[in-house]
Amino acid sequence: MLRRWQRPPRNPKPEITEAPVVVAEGFELGGKLSLNRPAIVNGRLRGYIQSTSHVTLGPSAVVHADISARSVTVHGMVIGNLTAEESISLETGARVKGDLVAPEITIGAGVCFEGDCRMMSPASWAALHAISESSEAANG
């Protein structure tokens, strides 16, 4: 029992647990968030979110950030590009301005969305982007 209250181990690799990281309503965060567990954001966030797990933006979330995760669910407001390995879901009430890249994207009724929508894996989108850029460079 006491172990829980000890200082975190020196090993910087955090333990993967399913307990979500929560940015509660009323909180404001800035900077880069690197996560390996589910995250729920209900507050305000500015910067960059990188996660190997699921990211949920609650209805009260106001996020100015690019988000890269395994999957993303949005109920709130985002200005930034969303990239997901698996899926992006914009639920009712979501307001999103930015580009979406994921193999599976769903947009519910009553969603305000403006931007590009690319239904492919981020890896193939990056490859495609590289090809188009190199061909542009060759032409120019």
Binding site: C112, F113, G115, C117
Partner: protein, 157 residues
């Protein structure tokens, strides 16, 4: 008389699995397409692209439901729905877009109406910041805003 969708009253349907028609079409009311159509479509009601429909056209419409394939630029003043069997490549200008699970869409979505709540960052200040702002001189307001935007900075006395 009662179709599955009660809103679609007069639904002109173009059928034919291998039929291909091309040209400029003006449809006063709604239309359902179950074949291949190219060119330009101006629909006064609802455009339904059936699961066997393939449309490669620039479209102006009110509502659209896409269960088949669509390629081109679309302007819809009403609602656009991409069903689970729908495949869309192109740009859509609409204020209301729904993509169902399994539906495929590659392209850009833009708004017809300006939505200031998205373009301008809706950032009501924190209560604490608001109190500070009230006590501060009005000219420092922009500075205060910069501080808010910036990632935490050290404040010097």
């Amino acid at each position: 008389m009662h179709t599955s969708d009660a809103q679609v009253k007069n639904l002109l349907t173009i059928r034919g699995d291998h039929a291909r028609i091309e040209g400029k079409f003006q449809i006063a009311d709604s239309i359902e397409i179950q074949c291949e159509v190219g060119g330009e479509l101006d629909v006064g009601g609802k455009l339904v692209i059936g699961d066997r429909g393939v449309v490669k056209a620039d479209v102006r419409t009110v509502d659209a439901v896409i269960m088949g394939a669509y390629e081109g630029n679309m302007v819809a003043t009403g609602d656009v729905e991409i069903a689970s069997t729908g495949r869309v490549m192109g740009n859509i200008k609409t204020d209301s877009l729904v993509i169902n699970k399994g539906g495929f869409f590659n392209g850009n979505v833009s708004k017809i109406k300006d939505t200031p709540e998205i373009t301008a960052p809706a950032a009501p200040p924190r209560p604490v910041a608001a109190e500070k702002r009230e006590s501060a001189a009005p000219e420092s307001e922009s500075k205060e805003k910069d501080k808010e935007l910036a990632i935490p900075k050290l404040q010097r006395p």
